[in-house]
Symmetry: C2
Subunit: 710 residues, 2 copies
């Protein structure tokens, strides 16, 4: 577990910090206002309204009391140790108050002020300063730009977000970690309307010292929390996030994330708005998927999916990965089935056995894959028999019930029988989710109370069902380490963009082979017998000629010795004209190879999530269709194989329309090897382009490699 400034024994420390954060005995409100309704008066108002039982100490040097409580001039004047402080002052006074908290030994501090990383260079200096103060003092710092911390279970509603002035703050078993302070209010408000509550809500703000991952680690063993919702604009601590995700998976607690940045404008905004970095949205999605965090596409799914996942996730183990949809309404059922299928989920109709059982009970199961009981009617006995039969069927992976108009005013007809069938089902019964077509809040409450997750929109239902159907593995496939001889080759290479010889040496050390070749010294005579097969390719090796074609420093298809001699002389003349005084390191002569297709394998370092491997179809297809697969690097062999299956253009190498198959095994092996270079931080970028793929069994050949070394 990594938390900024932790110096004590982690386990004990962690439990103590968790308690101070979520259930403090003593809370200081620094800069609390005595004027009701003001932003800085809200935390105290909300805690009093929610009957928080801890001791609250307002800190306000200008007053004797604040809302009836004795006020202190400084946090250092408070007569007992302070677990948690929320600093409500503006930028500079807030920094001074943090220093006082450090001196007073406060364990957790949240800061409201802005004027930090989002406010230019000066602000960035301030942000580093508060991070250092917190680190030195061992404080868990939330913010700055934080709207605070809320625990619904004990009335610790320590937030400046107006939404918490609500009379109805539902409790729940899901924790919210949000980089946006306003969104914790949105979630509470919209969740309440859906009957969904949260255990803890934390507004992380600028994450000067505590990122979403580090905070998640602190909350892993929070007893009241069964799952986590993340609202993210950026990722500042990818390693901690991975540790948190792993810990959550081990505990069977799902982690669901919504991330801004689907569009370029959205990404640009993240920079201007919170001073955050942005990465490529594909790299981020690959990273989240790789560490087992479920990324949702719509905000409503962030509200509805986590409860369903935490409730049904464990029951899905070992079940068939197919969904059965039943309905009391033809059109509505068809809409639900259509949306689920459109997300790539396999749909099963009623099995032969189930169909026979229903037939014997006089219930026609409808035509096609939708189990439609419209004809039998929305009646208690029909519904119960149908649900019972389908969930008892081992071929049912998950049952989705689309409930028609009766759900609004007559839950006894089609809602109650679902609940009763689920209650009476055996332990191996398939899980059930339900979607009422009409606005039917009461039926939704009944179903949720009966253990049946429900959804407000068909799209949210379909997206969540697709998540339930995709098992997340938290066991990473082992990715190989970088061999010692490769480290040695990197040691020996200069920094900057490496030439063919240095890049080739690093690749060779990994067992990645190029074409048969030889390097002639600049003055060396060209022998008649080169021991290479014609035709050949010749290139000048020079740090001054990065664009060989433009410089005329490459010739292909050379078919005899005379042509080779002529070609080398012509290239040297051309290069001298192109870049007078260019440095010639040698002349590289390679056998020309042909194959079935070309592939690009690249390693880059994403500013948010670090090393990322990209595999793409070669040539113009990559650029025009953006046809590629992306994973955090290094990758294991199964991951490399998965990537090859994802790239559409590689169909040409998979035996498309009777074509010969390419050596995908060799290609996967090369991908794994390239990806291990991620383990050496000096390797900033690698692009093997093209990799020539020959027929199955005939291996692959690296034709060109670019490596940038830091």
């Amino acid at each position: 577990m990594v938390v900024a400034g932790m110096r004590e024994e982690p386990g004990v420390m962690s439990a103590d910090i968790l308690r101070a954060l979520s259930a403090p005995n003593t809370v200081a409100l620094i800069g609390a206002s005595d004027t009701p309704g003001r932003l800085t008066a809200r935390p105290l108002t909300f805690m009093q309204k929610n009957a928080f039982q801890g001791r609250i100490y307002p800190v306000n040097p200008g007053r004797d009391t604040v809302m009836g409580l004795r006020a202190f001039a400084s946090v250092r004047d408070i007569p007992e140790p302070v677990d948690m402080a929320y600093i409500l002052l503006n930028t500079e006074p807030a920094i001074a108050a943090l220093e006082e908290c450090a001196a007073a030994g406060v364990k957790v501090v949240a800061m409201l002020a802005d004027g930090f990383a989002e406010a230019g260079e000066e602000g960035q200096v301030r942000q580093r300063r508060v991070a250092e103060i917190a680190k030195a003092a061992g404080i868990l710092l939330i913010g700055p730009n934080s709207m605070g911390v809320v625990n619904t279970a004990n009335g610790f509603v320590c937030t400046s977000n107006a939404a918490f002035g609500t009379d109805f703050l539902p409790k729940g078993r899901l924790a919210v970690l949000s980089q946006s302070g306003s969104v914790i209010g949105t979630l509470v408000s919209r969740g309440a309307e859906r009957g969904i509550g949260y255990s803890l809500l934390v507004s992380l703000g600028n994450e000067a010292a505590t990122g979403i991952g580090a905070l998640g680690e602190v909350l892993l063993d929070h007893a009241d929390t069964d799952g986590y919702l993340l609202f993210m604009e950026t990722i500042r601590d990818p390693e901690a996030l991975a540790n948190f995700a792993r810990g959550a998976a081990e505990r069977g607690k799902p982690v669901v994330a919504y991330m801004i940045g689907q569009s370029e404008e959205g990404q640009a905004l993240s920079v201007s708005h919170t001073g955050a970095l942005t990465g490529s949205s594909r790299a981020v999605s690959a990273f989240l998927a790789g560490i087992g965090i479920r990324q949702v596409q719509t905000f409503e799914t962030l509200i509805e999916a986590p409860a369903a996942l935490s409730r049904l996730g464990a029951k899905m183990h070992g079940r068939p990965r197919q969904v059965t949809v039943m309905s009391t309404t033809g059109g509505g059922g068809a809409m639900v089935l259509d949306q689920i299928s459109a997300r790539g989920v396999a749909i099963a109709g009623a099995s032969e056995t189930a169909r026979a059982t229903l037939g014997a009970a006089g219930i026609p199961a409808g035509h096609g894959k939708l189990v439609d009981v419209t004809l039998a009617g929305a009646k208690y006995e029909t519904m119960k028999k149908t649900v019972s039969t389908l969930i008892a069927d081992p071929e049912t992976g998950l049952l989705v019930v689309a409930i028609g108009s009766s759900a609004q005013f007559n839950p006894e007809l089609a809602v109650r029988p679902i609940i009763d069938a689920v209650a009476e089902a055996g332990p191996d019964a398939a899980p059930v989710v339900a979607f009422p077509l009409p606005h039917a809040p009461e039926s939704m409450r009944l179903l949720e109370a009966g253990g049946v997750p429900t959804f407000r929109t068909v799209e949210t239902c379909a997206e969540t069902v697709a998540m339930l159907m995709t098992e997340k593995s938290c066991v990473a496939n082992p990715a190989p380490e970088l061999p010692a001889k490769t480290r040695a080759a990197i040691d020996a290479a200069p920094s900057g963009v490496l030439d063919e010889v240095d890049a080739g040496r690093i690749c060779a050390s990994l067992g990645i082979s190029g074409p048969r070749q030889m390097l002639l010294a600049p003055g060396q005579e060209i022998s008649e017998d080169l021991n290479l097969g014609w035709p050949l390719v010749a290139k000048l090796v020079s740090p001054d000629l990065p664009h060989k074609t433009d410089a005329g420093a490459i010739r292909v298809g050379i078919s005899n010795h005379d042509d080779l001699v002529t070609a080398v002389a012509a290239m040297r003349a051309s290069a001298e004209a192109y870049h007078p005084g260019y440095r010639l390191k040698g002349i590289l002569i390679q056998e020309m190879c042909s194959g079935l297709g070309e592939v690009l394998v690249g390693l880059t370092r994403d500013p948010l999530v670090g090393p990322v491997l990209t595999v793409a179809a070669g040539g113009v297809m990559t650029e025009i269709y953006r046809d590629s697969a992306v994973r955090p690097a290094p990758v294991s062999l199964p991951e490399a194989q998965e990537m090859l299956a994802e790239v559409k253009g590689l169909a040409l190498l998979r035996g498309f329309r009777g074509r010969p198959e390419g050596d995908l095994a060799g290609l996967a092996d090369l991908i794994v090897k390239v990806s291990t270079l991620a383990n050496d931080p000096r390797i900033e970028e690698v692009e093997i382009n093209p990799v020539l793929v020959r027929e199955k069994g005939a291996s692959v050949v690296m034709l060109d490699a670019l490596i940038r070394r830091g």
Copy 2:
């Protein structure tokens, strides 16, 4: 206007039918039950509950009265002319009742019964029968499988859908036309929760005689209707739908459609569920777009978009096609902006002028493109000044306001100032829409009443904004007619798949040229001087050799006379071995051509929407990436150019990375010409594949053409 069975003067007839459908003076309920709560008792119950003022006549031969009204044995016994009848009987008795309605001169009949097109061959026979009865009698028939007709304005709630038992049936100015009966209930229920009501709702069922288009035409001049919502599982009357869409556009009434069939499973279901045909979802989308119907992606957008479109659509004319997003909440505003931008909408920040005005008022407009007044705070004066400034700015196309937590409990802070700014704005002010982040029904009601459309989800907001930004033209570009000589060439051709010669003749008549070529008769000697340039391609022309390559009946790259003679002899021997006794019509000899790229141009007839033109990148790219553009055929020149711009792979012909540009003008011309073949119903399918595209100005060449003639 096309309505089944109309024989009188259309204008008068139409107005009379519209009145009988929406505001009948007399209604017969055939098979009405006297037992409250039963399905067949509902229409009477609902009409009484909603104080319908027309005269209701229950028809039930087993009873003297039904729910206190005198019952009649037959519709023919009713003592005055009947405007509208709803037949609630089962299949066979329902058909008999329809015959009685015909005899009694009823104008509009809805039928509830199932057992028609969805019930196999017997059902299809029944469906044809009811259609014929209606046609012969001039009845506007709704159904069978119809849940009825509802007019919220006059209490004519003539439906068997349980959802209409609601105590709160909001009125509105949008009509619903649904092929699913349950969905009219869903829309009423979900709409009511959003404060959205409808003028009319019609459940069309199987559309035996009246499709969604034909009914739409009847409703075009309904005075209480400003726009239309369509819920569709199929399209049965594409021409009427196009007429309806055109009529609606002329009247400035938007038409918004949700259509099931995003997935193959969803499409298959449409067949099994209502006996409907399915077409390709791309062909259907292209058709809807082509006739100016807005197709929504999510069901919630079907609920929220139409009101916004009917309210703001006209105000968008001539405004810049860019959106300005302002917010009182950084994270929430960023989420909205991100989703709008992800749908391809251009985002503008505050203009220099607006920024200066706001700055002078002490309101910082935030960083980047989001106009974020979080720092200035959600205060009345700040909000009003910002909204007023932005909507007065001619550079603002549309203003989207994302309102934070205050919208839930304090509309006076950020909601009221929006309404006041809009009320005080000049006639040229930019339109405004709003999205409250929290659950804020009261604020949404205030905003809607103030002329500001609102949205419940960020995705629905973004989808609707994208629709507002895309102007729909209802003026179709004229597509050329089929030339007389082409009709003559089609007359002369046999039916079935045409050979090169017949297909080539049809193409030539359109001015589509193939390579230079000549056709030798089977016994003709091959002259030394063919007047063609080498190399050549030679093919056997035969109705018995559809797969030339397999039969060895094509040779390419023939470079001299001797090789040509040898090649022809070899092809004939090979063909004889492949298909003994094959009929040889001739030997086609063509110049070999080369160019920059290949394209596929195809014309097919979609089972739902009729002739459809497809343009795709040639070769494997088409198949692997499904990279194509689709339009209803015939297409105009501007449409053809639009299609070429849509196909990604054609970047290679648009000068991608310094490549030479292809002759896209020639290609667009060819596309238009091929598409005109849609005008001859005998042409069932055309595929010009490949079309060879040469350099700009060097024209295009049809290398192979397949035409199937009916």
